[in-house]
């Protein structure tokens, strides 16, 4: 189970609303490489994973991603608070506004709603950890792209924190891959699937 901590993992304090930025940053909530997909990916992959260390990493990174989607949502919320209709029109925020007003909804920057098709839980240790490594890099690239688009230091600061976390998670998943491989047949990592083939882990 989970229990709520009434605080953000890292402060988000944005003085100036800016719906144009909200439109691109929302992608890290509900987009193809966003925090919602990240969290669901790792938390779903845990159940058939045979190695305790790797289950620990998936559980704790998956939990941190929940904290990250709260941070991304806080950024989008603060960027869209007290908007006037003029500001909505000037910033091209109308398509989001007409569907969600100033509510927070998981969509990509392109407007496509969140889809579980953006992640996998394949039930094969090597396959899943390889996906996780790639996922952290894709999220890192997205944060790099956001940083190219954003000048406001109030927005850049929490985005830089989130970007940095992708690197740490990548590091931990690298260790998770090593742990999986250490438990497998060193001559052929693919000789069996430790999440499925009975008695082999």
């Amino acid at each position: 189970m989970w229990s709520y901590e009434k605080k953000l993992q890292y402060p988000v304090k944005i003085k100036n609303p800016n719906p144009a930025l909200a439109k691109v940053i929302i992608t890290q909530f509900g987009g193809p490489d966003g925090e919602l997909g990240a969290s669901m990916r790792y938390l779903s992959q845990r159940y058939s994973m045979p190695y305790g260390e790797v289950v620990g990493i998936l559980s704790d990174v998956g939990t941190e991603e929940l904290a990250h989607l709260e941070m991304v949502s806080a950024i989008v919320h603060q960027l869209t608070r007290n908007m006037t209709i003029e500001q909505i029109k000037e910033s091209g925020f109308e398509p989001y506004f007409v569907d969600h007003t100033a509510g927070i909804y998981p969509v990509a920057a392109s407007g496509v709603p969140f889809s579980a098709m953006a992640f996998q839980s394949k039930g094969d240790a090597i396959t899943d950890i390889m996906e996780d490594l790639a996922a952290e890099q894709k999220a890192r690239t997205t944060y790099d792209n956001i940083l190219r688009l954003v000048d406001d230091p109030d927005v850049r600061d929490p985005i830089k924190f989130l970007r940095q976390r992708e690197l740490v998670h990548f590091q931990r998943f690298g260790e998770a891959l090593r742990i999986c491989q250490d438990n497998l047949d060193s001559k052929n990592f693919y000789a069996f699937n430790p999440e499925f083939d009975k008695g082999r882990k």
Binding site: K7, V12, G56
Partner: protein
């Protein structure tokens, strides 16, 4: 948000971060004694800071609710901008 509250919250966030980061390292390196010692030390420091924060500004989770009224719904939510 007043400066004192902001400062204490930042310290709490920093200590919780240290604990979390060490826990994640320990998941992958469970036999690392130095990391485990650091984890316990950091958790002790976090508990002290959390106690100070909670006493002045209210609960941060169900475990720290001690008041006579349910002010959980009155203290600000973390995404609310406080200038």
């Amino acid at each position: 948000m007043n400066k004192e509250k902001e400062k204490l919250m930042k310290m709490l966030q920093a200590m919780d971060f240290a604990i979390y980061e060490t826990a994640l390292f320990l998941d992958a390196n469970p036999k690392n004694k130095r990391a485990l010692d650091y984890f316990k030390k950091a958790r002790e420091m976090r508990d002290q800071i959390r106690e100070q924060y909670v006493e002045k500004y209210g609960a941060v989770n169900f475990g720290t609710i001690h008041g006579e009224s349910w002010d959980w719904v009155e203290t600000p939510w973390p995404w609310q901008y406080e200038g």
